[in-house]
Symmetry: C2
Subunit: 272 residues, 2 copies
């Protein structure tokens, strides 16, 4: 069972905010792994074994698993099971960006919180409170609501200004949704490419954890992100995917991944 306290303890022990994104593409993993029964799981297993002392969280991205059909879904299940069985202190996030009407969201919650042992799932807020609530209703689990994402398209709708109160949509999402739960079950996705806006967001939600994508491949600055985003419980889960998991492409890929994770963790440790 994960709580803000247990995540914070991990941040302190490991001196790290690091989340490793398992965006595992079977076409990008080292060739020799294709001899394994489940190459994607084997890749993930070796990455996790090589980096677990540097990371507080792992975040499989469901799209990469679904793209391989039920076999991919099996790789996802095996990965989740392996991580929670061997490294129970790890915060396990399903990057799934789900969200639908109530009875459907409940099914998604079952998929990730019951059928698998994820601690958290990313959710899209467009359909509002009753699309989010069924996830929150699961005890001792977290939802991570998209607010301000790191991609170019975030400007299309998230930056629209609500006429009533001049809030941007992403602020409106945070301000409304924070009332639907507590810091013990709601976190937010905030893109690291928007470091200037982090301070403002931190004032609205001083206690909620923020999941920060966009370090590395998407180009956000690490130090700035930590300075603007951290709180008195750590408050940050900072993700890197491709920069770590594809650091090498031969037999020593896991060692190469560790080297990259170590660089990030060292930079983080100075600011924990």
């Amino acid at each position: 069972m994960m709580t803000i306290e247990s995540i914070y303890k991990n941040i302190q022990t490991k001196k790290s905010f690091l989340c490793v994104g398992l965006d595992t593409d079977i076409n990008k993993i080292p060739n020799f792994l294709l001899n394994f029964n489940d190459p994607v799981f084997e890749f993930n297993r070796q990455i996790v074994d090589a980096t677990h002392d540097l990371a507080i969280a792992y975040k499989p991205n469901t799209a990469f698993y679904e793209s391989r059909g039920y076999e991919g879904w099996l790789s996802l299940e095996r990965t989740a099971d392996y991580i929670k069985s061997n490294y129970p202190e790890i915060f396990l996030i399903a990057d799934a960006k789900r969200g639908d009407i109530g009875n459907t969201s409940k099914m998604y919650a079952k998929a990730f919180f019951e059928e698998m042992e994820f601690d958290a799932i990313t959710v899209a807020p467009y359909m509002g409170e009753d699309s989010i609530k069924p996830f929150i209703d699961f005890k001792n689990k977290f939802i991570i609501i998209l607010s301000l994402t790191s991609n170019k398209g975030s400007a299309d709708f998230q930056m629209l200004k609500n006429c009533e109160n001049k809030n941007y949509l992403y602020e409106e999402v945070i301000k409304k949704s924070k009332q639907w739960g507590t810091a013990e079950n709601i976190m937010y996705v905030v893109g690291a490419t928007k470091s200037d806006k982090l301070k403002k967001i931190r004032k609205i939600i001083p206690d909620n954890f923020l999941l920060i994508p966009g370090i590395g491949a998407q180009g956000g600055s690490l130090k700035e992100t930590i300075d603007n985003g951290k709180n008195n419980k750590g408050g940050l889960i900072i993700n890197s995917s491709r920069g770590i998991i594809y650091a090498g492409n031969s037999n020593n890929f896991a060692e190469k991944a560790r080297q990259q994770a170590l660089i990030l963790q060292k930079n983080m440790s100075e600011n924990v």
Copy 2:
């Protein structure tokens, strides 16, 4: 390969706008099906066989399959394969409400358009253009963008007014996203509980098909929906899920489902 013309032809031949939502919950299907190797697939197969001449589309809702792990995903694959192999005229929609950064959305598109043979997928617009584009880039496939949904929570964000032009967010989503493709690859989700707004939406997008949930269980009026929403190519795919598939709960469940589908199709036929 599905086009607006082929969907329209089906609407005319079958005198129907009906889409049957396959929100198949293993806990709600008749008990005797549990003796089958894949009870959910068997349920779907019998529903489809009993209703295919009345429906122009089927819409499995991915949450219900994911909630059963990889076995559920297998049921989904078998269902999609069965429908496209036996009833190739059917428009097959994955109700998945996906959407993520570009390289991730591409993986979702692969999952549903390549690994399975879906003709269309529902997508959430919150992350903007680059989260939608990878789906549009697949030739001869459709995306169905959430605009105005039928649930209570649709009021939370979709009804916010953009300060710049006084558009509601859902209008903004439609007006921006319609420029990212054409009526041959973009459709929109518009809840039937919002019939009063359908006319306005139809003026903004005269040519795009609309997927209308909320008939039946969610309480929208059928005639009003058709009057306000149809265009010169039909333009409507009207979904009913629970009202049809759970009409019966014994050996004759498929026959009961057909009876309900027939009632809807007859009401539709008067207005096609």
